[in-house]
Amino acid sequence: MKDIKICCAGFGGQGTLSMGKILAYAGMLEGKEVTWSPSYGPEMRGGTANCHVVISDTPVGSPVVTENASCVIAMNQPSLDKFAEVLADDGALVVNADLATYNGEKEVRLLSVPANTLATKEFGGTRLANIVLLGAVVYATNCVSVDFVDSAFEHVFSGAKSKFVPDNKKAFALGYDFAKSL
């Protein structure tokens, strides 16, 4: 398997970093080499937040995804404008259609997912929009198998937080199925 390099970007508070963490966790459970690296600093307080996830069969060299990304996830317009260029020619661009529109000149494999709308309809709020997008990412890249995403939820939300698992799984399936229908 070629390295799968993913760049997640959004506003602070949109769950960008935790979306990447679920992905890395699922990759680890599947027995793959994974890295998750955040941009850190003042942007964690309401500015842009982004993280890079690399999933591979061999030890990961550079954990930083600044070129040839297999997938770019843009949770909002500024992130899309900034990171679309990182995408590889055969990469998948996953966009939160409620907050961003791709107007780039380059032809890309575009998955426009109205994650806020889908999340609000199902859960009455946008809190799980990141996980809806994650479903689309996994469908588009096949970077980890769905079973391992489900067990990643169980590991990340353990103990008192286990009550969050069913909704996360549901949100993930929502995004996955939506992407499949595109």
Binding site: A24, M28, T35, P38, G41, V60, G61
Partner: protein, 352 residues
């Protein structure tokens, strides 16, 4: 063995606890603050003590006290904070006290930036405190290696009675990778029969730092250098990466070395016979690696997140500064794989 997906900073804290460290004294600074944050909640669970000191200066002097008292003790910081700790590092070294000091480097100089850097090589490897001295300096390139090196660091510190620096950078501190923890002592450790424990019915112990007599002070220096010589003989450590048939060798450590690995993979696909000598300890510097490979290496490609602070040691190790080409990024910028590939092609110039 159980694997955890952990941030480098937290994994370092856990590794310290697994290695039997129960004392941490430190001060917050980006990008290492997760180390004190993690240990503030985890150390009390194992009967340990966490103190947020009033300054880096106080923290390293608390380390000095705890080390003198016979404990395994840790402090951590990032570049400007490590600069502040230099006085105490010199005192620890002079008093032959074991301690582990983590530096999650950021760009400098001065307040610099909070983004990753590798520009503390000179301060740490050459010595940022006064006087003639050495510290063991370990340079992990992954979260797992940071964990393993932390555990080894405590053993080396106790074995040689010397401060050990674990020098990484903000990227490895902040990133998450799967890690497992398996502490097995790497040395048979001598008893700390010199520690301050209250003399009881035994002899009085003194931890001293001032030697008024010049000859006596000179003798102290020579005694320390006997230890340094033993360390240089026994503890050089490096990774040979694709060096079997290499005619060109990258030299790099830590984060820039892992980026170089990806670049080397691409250059190999293009047909270049290129590998890397990656020092895992920066002091003692792995001179033996160069003795092993130098005859067949046409050029060294030194890549760092500094202006070339390691180049001098590569030159001393290979004996020919003209064989070294350098490429670096600074100020918190992380070099890209493409930059290293382009640098490699420029240096090797189609020599496949």
């Amino acid at each position: 063995m159980a694997k955890y997906l952990m941030k480098g900073n937290e994994a370092i804290g856990k590794a310290a606890i697994e290695a039997g460290c129960k004392y941490f004294f430190g001060y917050p600074i980006t990008p290492q603050s997760e180390v004190p944050e993690y240990l503030s909640s985890e150390l009390p669970k194992v009967g340990g003590v966490f103190v947020q000191a009033e300054s880096e200066v106080a923290a390293i002097n608390m380390v000095y006290g705890a080390a003198a008292a016979g404990a395994r003790v840790l402090t951590s910081s990032s570049s400007p904070g490590i600069a502040l700790k230099q006085e105490g590092i010199g005192y620890l070294t002079n008093a032959s006290l074991p301690a582990v000091i983590v530096n999650m480097m950021r760009g400098g100089p001065g307040l610099g930036t909070i983004q990753p850097g590798q520009a503390d090589y000179n301060m740490t490897v050459k010595g940022g405190s006064n006087g003639d001295y050495r510290n063991i300096v370990m340079a992990p390139a992954s979260v797992q290696e940071a964990v393993d090196m932390m555990m080894e660091a405590f053993d080396l510190a106790d074995y040689y009675r010397i401060p050990v620096m674990v020098m990484s950078d903000g990227l490895i501190g902040q990133m998450m990778e799967p890690v497992s923890f398996d502490y097995k002592p790497c040395k048979e450790l001598p008893p700390k029969d010199w520690a301050l424990t209250g003399m009881g019915e035994g002899k009085k112990h003194m931890v001293e730092n001032l030697v008024m007599d010049a000859d006596e002070c000179e003798a102290w220096n020579h005694d320390h250098f006997k230890v340094y010589n033993a360390i240089e003989a026994a503890e050089q450590d490096w990774e040979d990466f694709m060096m079997e048939d290499a005619e060109y060798a990258f030299t790099s450590y830590g984060t820039s070395a892992r980026i170089a690995k990806t670049a080397i993979g691409i250059l190999r696909e293009k047909g270049y016979k290129v590998g890397m000598i990656r020092p895992k300890k920066l002091w003692p510097f792995p001179i033996k690696a160069f003795e092993l490979h130098d005859a067949k290496i046409k050029k060294y490609l030194d890549v760092e997140m500094s202006m070339g602070q390691m180049v001098g040691d590569v030159a001393l190790a290979c004996g020919d500064a003209s064989k070294i080409e350098f490429y670096g990024r600074v100020g918190g910028n992380i070099p890209t794989v493409d930059e290293f590939v382009a640098f490699g092609e420029k240096v090797m110039g189609g020599d496949k």
